[in-house]
Symmetry: C2
Amino acid sequence: MSTESKVTRLGLPGGGPSFTAPDLWSSGSLPGARLTPESRSILAEIATVVRFRKGETIFQEGESAEAAFNIITGMVKAYKLSPDGKPHIIGFRFADDLIGLPENGRYVNSAEAATAVTLYKMSGTAIETRLRQYPSLDFQLIGKLCNVLHDAQDHALLLSERRAATKLGLFLQMLEARQGQEGASSGEVFLPMSRSDIGSYTGISAEAVTRALRELSDRGAIGFRDRRHIQITDRAGLPMSVADTRHFRG
Amino acid sequence: MSTESKVTRLGLPGGGPSFTAPDLWSSGSLPGARLTPESRSILAEIATVVRFRKGETIFQEGESAEAAFNIITGMVKAYKLSPDGKPHIIGFRFADDLIGLPENGRYVNSAEAATAVTLYKMSGTAIETRLRQYPSLDFQLIGKLCNVLHDAQDHALLLSERRAATKLGLFLQMLEARQGQEGASSGEVFLPMSRSDIGSYTGISAEAVTRALRELSDRGAIGFRDRRHIQITDRAGLPMSVADTRHFRG
DNA sequence: CGTTACGTTGAGGTGGGTCAACGGGGGTGG
DNA sequence: CCACCCCCGTTGACCCACCTCAACGTAACG
């Protein structure tokens, strides 16, 4: 299923795990500051590089959690199973993101490779040992967790919107912010995932995704370069889709 | 607005902050294990007790985060503002819960006292100092964060459900699990919050909350003792509200 | 070039939003 | 202690946005 290659401490591509960790109370450094070289070398001792092909399952909800992962390249879909058994996407994870954090020894969600991905794989028990030894390390982990938590809360806020166009507007803003971190904020958003995946994340059907994008396009808020590349032409117009369409009463 | 009382290290009611922290990889102890007496006394040094009356704001999204809070008694509503300015409840917090965790020095959501509440208030910079000194302390904090994150993901899963009755079923299950931790799992759920608050949390209107509860009642899944106390009479029947009502095609 | 999955568009049905009206309970002031 | 009031909860009526299904167009893959 997956290829796994042992690497030496010095041989890790990119110099070892590098998930970003914003500050907590002291807002000194910029959001997105990476692990210190020191921390990275500590984690590099226990990291291996693994690869998954598109569509492969990385881990599943409820499984005994033996390792956490740090994405090097590619995109990962994080999902949970609804009570009726259908999967719902709870997040898209990109380079530098940390996935596979457990609770009580078990994964709390599933993860699937949305594209071909390469990951650092770190044994949980080894991480735990290192955390107890190096205070600065888990301090950065706490910051990362706050970041993931923030994402989850934003997702919930998106899901509580009623109109499909508003959901898509927020979704595009989220993607732009993510992609803008690592390049010029060109105003163009890349959608690597399918309409169906977007629907699963935003809580609407794939058809409604198409129609909502068309609505935003008709409204002049966005433009299409192709089906996977969207230009944001009116950034302020994205979230306002609720207020002005609101049907007033006589 | 709020009463604040300095307390000595030994004088803290209950012996100091006591938020629960489940294990990460090593699933040795039960979920809900509290801080060790050692950790609590460390935090007790920097904790004060504060009180808020029902309806008072504890902190607001975007404010400079000077302190984190640990609930002693009462219930707190955590909410965020939608892009259109309306508040959406993202969680209900109870005794032992930790609130006010910041990102980049600012609160990421607002909190309001839903009942009269008493809290431990801990200065952020003091916590940060302690975390750097005592590795075991922030290790427990990491566990707590995973727990909060899990809650946020469950909330998102609830919001992605379409039928109101299913949302309410999941909501009742969540409340029962929370309340069951600290007492006999009597099958009775207490709803301290208003219908409107439930609607805000589940993403539906207050009227729809009433109708969904009635639907569950008609279905035999729940029974009413009064408007705030619900008996769960068919636990398995709560989540199935989607599948069986599903309109089939000919 | 065939096959398959994805994307789009259209038509019809429905769940829940919205508004309106009423009932009930708790708090306040007389 | 009672009267009043205001807010919460409930119920009904109507309508719209989105789900569902179906059909077709299109890109990706061998």
